[in-house]
């Protein structure tokens, strides 16, 4: 954890305006663990749809918004008001911003060259999509730089099986007439399953009509270890980090 603490001293924190000192972040971490982690978890990702450590919030936009939500809660949700000073709430926000901007180990790359790797040598578009280009079978990466930290992107590229998010799991089904279909799981319940297959079809099956329904243990993502040079890897990560979603018109 020292890594982020040292680095962020000079960072303008992503998507926010607070400039944090190391001591601020230590304090923020302490307050976060004491007051927030009970529900949000130590990594800030225990509440579904919210990933505080990766800058993924359902409501907050600015640092001030986040401070306000910490202090007043969100009506009609499980998020209660926290009895804490504005100063301490700002420390928490600074800590959360620092978590989201932790760097990769492969250093700074070139975004333009990274895009070329993504669309060329890397072959990423065969599974992934960015805005209007690429396949929809794998996770859409249009905003991956806003929801994943660079060291996590690096890990996904080198060790795809190290962490597969729940929403990125693949399943294999065999229909009643023996057709095997592999696709990314979109949802399943006691009776049905929904997925998107390699032809980008949205499919839904009754489980009782299937001969087989199974999760695929291995990630469908290939490892790029040894396939890309360190420079290409750094460039690719820089490009991915730059993907922050669609621009508001």
């Amino acid at each position: 954890m020292r890594m982020w603490a040292v680095t962020v001293c000079t960072l303008v924190l992503a998507a926010g305006t607070l400039h944090a000192q190391e001591t601020d972040l230590e304090l923020g971490k302490g307050f976060f663990l004491a007051r927030c982690a009970v529900c949000h978890g130590p990594d800030g990702n225990s509440v579904q749809g919210v990933d505080l450590g990766r800058g993924k919030f359902r409501r907050a936009l600015s640092d001030d918004d986040m401070v306000q939500i910490i202090k007043t809660g969100i009506p009609n949700t499980a998020m209660p008001p926290i009895d804490i000073s504005t100063r301490k709430a700002k420390y928490i926000v600074a800590y959360l911003r620092s978590m989201a901007s932790s760097p990769a180990t492969s250093g700074q790359g070139n975004t333009v060259r990274g895009k070329a790797v993504f669309e060329g040598k890397g072959g990423c578009l065969s599974c992934h999509r960015v805005k209007d280009k690429g396949s929809r079978v794998g996770p859409d990466l249009t905003d991956v730089g806003a929801i994943r930290r660079s060291f996590e992107l690096e890990r996904s590229l080198l060790e795809p099986n190290a962490e597969v998010l729940l929403e990125n799991r693949f399943v294999r089904v065999v229909t009643g007439d023996g057709v095997a279909i592999t696709g990314r799981l979109l949802n399943h319940d006691a009776f049905t399953v929904q997925l998107i297959d390699s032809k980008e079809r949205l499919l839904s099956f009754q489980k009782s009509s299937l001969k087989e329904f199974a999760f695929l243990d291995e990630s469908q993502m290939p490892s790029y270890r040894g396939k890309l040079s360190p420079e290409e890897l750094a460039d690719l990560i820089s490009y991915l980090v730059s993907l922050k979603g669609i621009e508001t018109q």
């Binding site: 009970v38 130590p42 225990s46 509440v47 579904q48 749809g49 499980a78 799991r169 319940d189 006691a190």
Partner: protein, 543 residues
């Protein structure tokens, strides 16, 4: 029930409005099972079986159930209330605290009483309400800002409003009150905010407090270190039960505070995570049994106490009818207790458990060393939300089985961080399963936690059958005299099972999470089944 029995029930359903319209006497509440066209208290009867003698809907025709009406709540909070039905009128609560009277046959609204909670309320887990109590022509609602309000059941006007506790201090009321004789009894939520929990009884006519029982005794005794008892938690947020023969009222108590770091509160932390048997006239404690001494996992024992009479082996080997409590606890163990004395009779895991090696002869869990929160995190089965929680179970005297909604193979990693003297305790938990399902999608494998309706033989603790779901469940369970079982889950289905073997007989996708207990009633000879899911109340009957 035989055909004659069915005829009597339906005849009563036709005639009851003519012969008893109006006052709901306590005698009627005590004999609520004898007028199954009505639902007069949270769990159906004060014995809390959530079992109805109605049998018009049965295994042969349940496939013909169809939607009758929907009430769409003007609220985005979870709809956790179980409705009451009295002589064709349904009373329920739209979260947080709007009481609604509806025509139980059509869903059309007679009146609404709205209570606007104070803005500073801070319930841990949503601005929810689980229902009402009724006596005479008066409804009773406990509110999220810790008030108890009496409301005229005919016109929805408030009759009295009593402040039960200070909401600014973390107190909240979410449970359906329980009427016993001329008193209405409630408990206080807020165990995650360092309250000192209590159960209190109020005069039904005036709203004046008659007695108060603190779930943490003053000054805490040997089970609390130092002054930790003062903010020790012990909330009560699920309705209790009442045995008129013993004149005892039973309540489940919640977690000690702080939740995940017990270092500041050494000892067993009585009477948290316990069942307490109280004299409803005085509030005096008759006995208690603690399920999870010194809890550091937030395993509230806020389950509905199910009171049953079972043949039980005596020391001489002979079977004798025994008054017992059936209790599937959040800690993952199913218990049978003697409800006259509190004597421990049976304790057995009903889901995957790794924190205890069982229960010793004194009824105390035999803890597994090292299975406590730690700074690096400790994997515990069941997880923070438990093997079950507040979801209403059911007991069918016909099948002799106890039915419970379970979370199996579910775990959490519990943390406890070192603190310096004078600092607040710090701890938490992490789980793959979110506290509240916010997305209508499910991606997990069975081995990461799944929900199931389980039928448990209370004489052995053995699971007789299970109905497995993909996702976990927050739904209660209803059984009927036609051996039907109604429940659902986060999958968004409401379904009927054969209570004898768990076979699926009917299902409907209602789309929202079921976080309430189903109930049934009849109007003009027609049986209905109602359940809240998502933000709506759905009502079904035979086509």
């Amino acid at each position: 029930m035989n055909t004659r029995g069915l005829g009597l029930v339906l005849l009563a359903s036709f005639l009851w409005p003519l012969i008893s319209w109006g006052q709901v006497s306590f005698d009627r509440i005590l004999r609520a099972d004898q007028e199954p066209q009505n639902w007069l208290t949270y769990s159906g009867t004060t014995l809390s079986h959530r079992h109805s003698l109605l049998n018009q809907i049965n295994a042969a025709n349940v496939k013909n159930l169809e939607l009758q009406w929907i009430y769409q709540a003007r609220s985005l909070e979870k709809f956790e209330a179980t409705a009451l039905v009295v002589d064709g009128v349904m009373y329920t609560v739209q979260a947080p605290n709007d009481v609604i009277a509806l025509d139980a046959a059509t869903g059309r609204v007679f009146w609404i009483f709205s209570h606007a909670p104070e803005p500073w309320t801070k319930p841990c887990c949503g601005h929810v309400n689980r229902g009402l109590a009724i006596l005479g022509d008066t409804l009773f609602m406990a509110t999220i800002d810790a008030h108890l309000i009496a409301i005229d059941a005919k016109n929805g006007r408030p009759l009295w409003d009593t402040t039960v506790a200070d909401a600014k201090s973390g107190y909240a009321l979410t449970l359906a009150p329980l009427v016993v004789k001329d008193k209405v009894i409630v408990g206080t939520a807020g165990g995650d905010y360092g309250i000192r929990g209590f159960i209190a009884a109020y005069d039904v006519h005036t709203g004046k407090e008659v007695w108060r029982f603190y779930t943490i005794p003053e000054p805490g005794g040997s089970s609390w270190g130092g002054d930790s008892w003062q903010e020790g938690g012990g909330p009560v947020w699920i309705t209790g039960s009442y045995d008129p023969a013993l004149n005892l009222s039973y309540w489940g108590t919640g977690n000690p505070s702080p939740d995940y770091d017990g270092d500041s509160r050494p000892g067993d932390n009585l009477y948290t995570d316990s069942v307490v048997a109280l004299d409803p006239d005085t509030g005096k404690l008759k006995w208690y049994y603690q399920f999870t001494p010194h809890d550091e996992f937030d395993w509230d024992s806020t389950q509905v106490p199910v009171l049953a009479d079972l043949e039980w082996p005596e020391n001489d080997g002979h079977q004798k009818l025994r008054k017992v409590i059936l209790w599937a606890n959040r800690n993952g163990l199913f218990y049978v207790l003697d409800r006259t004395t509190g004597q421990f009779l049976l304790g057995k895991p009903f889901v995957k458990v790794n924190w205890t090696n069982g229960i010793d002869e004194q009824g105390r869990p035999m803890r597994v060393p090292g299975k406590i929160p730690s700074s690096e995190g400790t994997l515990i089965y069941p997880g923070n939300r438990g093997g079950t929680s507040w979801y209403s179970p059911s007991y069918s005297p016909r099948t002799g089985l106890f039915y419970v909604s379970t979370w199996d193979s579910y775990s959490s990693v519990f943390f406890k961080f070192p603190v310096k003297p004078g600092e607040d305790p710090r701890g938490g938990h992490r789980s793959l399963i979110p506290d509240d399902r916010l997305l209508p999608q499910h991606f997990r494998k069975d081995e990461e936690g799944y929900g199931a309706v389980r039928a448990i033989d209370p004489k052995t603790g053995e699971t007789k059958w299970e109905f497995k779901m993909a996702d976990v469940t927050d739904a209660g369970i209803l059984t009927t005299a036609s051996d039907l079982l109604f429940s659902g889950g986060r999958d968004g289905y409401f379904f009927a099972l054969d209570a004898r073997n768990g076979a699926l007989l009917w299902k409907v996708a209602v789309g929202g999470v079921l976080a309430s207990g189903p109930m049934t009633y009849a109007v003009r000879g027609k049986q209905y089944v109602a359940v809240a899911a998502g933000n709506c109340l759905f009502t079904f009957a035979l086509r």
